[in-house]
């Protein structure tokens, strides 16, 4: 298969933008990524845009109306929290097909305020009558399976928030840049046991973009800052006995991870840096095992050891993650990849992982979709 390279990557600061449209946010990220690559929209052969809440609005065309209506094909992608990563992967496939030399992948979102809504159903509103369908409750229940099987404690889950909030203090584009000690995480408002408010991701607006090119184009541009896509996989949820009554975050992630590792020809022990889908603190520990960063049941010990903190064996979510950088649903999958690109280039500033050569970006969409990308310094 032909190689695909990322030559441009950037994101806007995550936050609240009440006076700007998601297309304007996406357009700003697109221009940042194009400037980073030294290219213009006239060089781009196709545009892929991920968005969830704002999906049915011809987002890609709206972005081109902001930055240049060059007439290129636009593919608008909706795949829940995996929307952005799906757009990135489709751009990669477009390059691999030989149809395009340069493709632009953008993720953009303006999240609705408050707790994200559940799907509409017939009959009386099910919330409270038939348990809870809120995302915190769903990921609390996922965490409690791990807790029952391995004795994982609320303190271990809470340490994920301590770590990711600490990492975010080194990321000027994170929504929050403030450390939260363990006592503060545990003492914040209980939402759904064992998740306190500081163990839930931040509901924000944001956008991120990447420029992908063929090997031929990458050589033409010079490979000094190019990052190679070594592995890419997208999975839907395979059958599992409790799914979909109980959301299964694990099997779909494992399926995507296996596919990406196989394509890359590497194993999890070779990774230098990981951005994974910490939508809730419980999820990060589940994904340590799902991605093979540790053995089954060892996630609690892994967070306790400090191995996933900056300076540890395999730093996880050095960007601050969804917990502190923020989680604009459709943008997250691209933003995770942008962080890995910056790390592999050695351009991550205070949060740089020393000597990072191989990185992994993972996202998980409710419903379910999981995407895993493995990137390498060219």
């Amino acid at each position: 298969m032909s190689s695909v390279y990322v030559v441009g990557a950037d994101l806007i600061k995550f936050g609240r933008y009440p006076n700007r449209s998601p297309a304007q946010l996406g357009a700003e990220a697109a221009l940042l990524a194009l400037d980073d690559a030294g290219l213009t929209i006239r060089d781009v052969g196709a545009l892929y845009v991920g968005s969830s809440f704002n999906a049915a609005s011809m987002m890609g065309q709206q972005i081109l109306q902001q930055i240049g209506q060059t007439g290129i094909p636009c593919v608008n992608v909706s795949n829940a929290c995996a929307s952005g990563a799906t757009a990135f992967r489709e751009a990669m496939i477009g390059i691999m097909s030989g149809l395009y030399d340069v493709a632009l992948a953008v993720g953009t979102e303006k999240n609705p305020p408050g707790m994200l809504p559940s799907r509409k159903t017939e009959g009386p509103p099910p919330e409270g009558l038939f348990g809870s369908g809120t995302m915190p409750a769903v990921f609390a229940e996922a965490g409690m399976v791990h807790s029952a099987a391995y004795g994982t404690t609320i303190e271990q889950f809470a340490r994920v928030s301590v770590k990711n909030h600490y990492h975010a203090t080194m990321n000027p584009k994170a929504m929050y840049q403030r450390e939260t000690p363990l006592e503060e995480v545990l003492a914040s408002e209980m939402i759904a046991w064992p998740l306190t408010k500081l163990m839930c991701s931040v509901n924000v607006d944001g956008a991120a973009a990447t420029v992908l090119v063929s090997a031929r184009k990458a050589r033409e541009l010079g490979l000094s800052r190019a990052i190679r896509v070594r592995g890419s996989a997208l999975a839907s949820d395979p059958w599992e006995a409790h799914n979909p009554v109980m959301f299964d975050a694990n099997s779909v992630t494992r399926l995507a991870a296996a596919g990406a590792f196989e394509m890359a020809g590497v194993g999890p022990q070779e990774l230098d840096v990981v951005e994974l889908h910490d939508c809730f603190a419980t999820a990060e520990l589940l994904h340590y095992e799902n991605l093979g960063l540790c053995g089954e049941g060892e996630a609690g010990a892994l967070i306790d050891s400090g191995a996933t903190t900056l300076g540890g064996r395999v730093p996880v979510n050095v960007s601050g993650g969804l917990l502190s950088k923020g989680h604009p649903i459709g943008a997250t999958g691209v933003a995770n990849i942008v962080e890995i690109v910056q790390q592999l280039r050695g351009e991550a500033g205070a949060r740089q992982v020393d000597g990072a050569r191989l990185g992994l970006a993972h996202v998980l969409g409710f419903g379910a979709a999981a995407a895993v990308h493995i990137l390498e310094k060219a």
Partner: protein, 144 residues
């Protein structure tokens, strides 16, 4: 001779069935090829893809807690706290529900529970007909 008209309650969620005697039950569907069960009648088995017709069955009202959480904050207007549980019934059907239990600290994985039908919080459909819903209670072994 009676003048009252019996109004049959409507299922508050898709997999509740109500008989002619107004008695409700939970319905499940089993793949006759691989044995997988689900509350939804799908076109093919979601596990083995078999297109043999799924067999409908009346689910057991007893099971065990597979996972749980105590919800302290939900959508605006929803009364909290309540216990949300994932229950695996004896016939392996999985249901999500609310566990009504006085002591939230007593909830644990593997806890035996029993399904109880209710009036879905007193909700009425647009025509004024009552709903039938369900919740779980701890199973102590004393019930019939």
């Amino acid at each position: 001779m009676t003048t009252s008209v019996a109004v049959s309650p409507r299922p508050a969620t898709g997999f509740i069935r109500v008989g002619e005697d107004a008695k409700p039950w939970i319905t499940g569907f089993r793949c006759m090829d691989c044995g997988a069960v689900a509350t939804e009648q799908t076109l093919a088995c979601r596990r083995c893809t078999s297109r043999s017709p799924l067999q409908e069955f009346r689910a057991s009202a007893r099971g065990r807690v597979y996972s749980w959480t105590v919800v302290q904050r939900s959508y605006p207007g929803i009364a909290v706290p309540f216990v949300s549980v994932i229950v695996e019934l004896e016939d392996h059907l999985t249901l999500k529900g609310t566990l009504r239990v006085a002591d939230h600290d007593s909830v644990h994985s593997g806890m035996p529970v029993r399904l109880v039908f209710d009036d879905a919080g007193g909700a009425l459909d647009p025509e004024g007909a009552p709903y039938v819903g369900y919740h779980f209670v701890p199973f102590t072994g004393d019930e019939k």
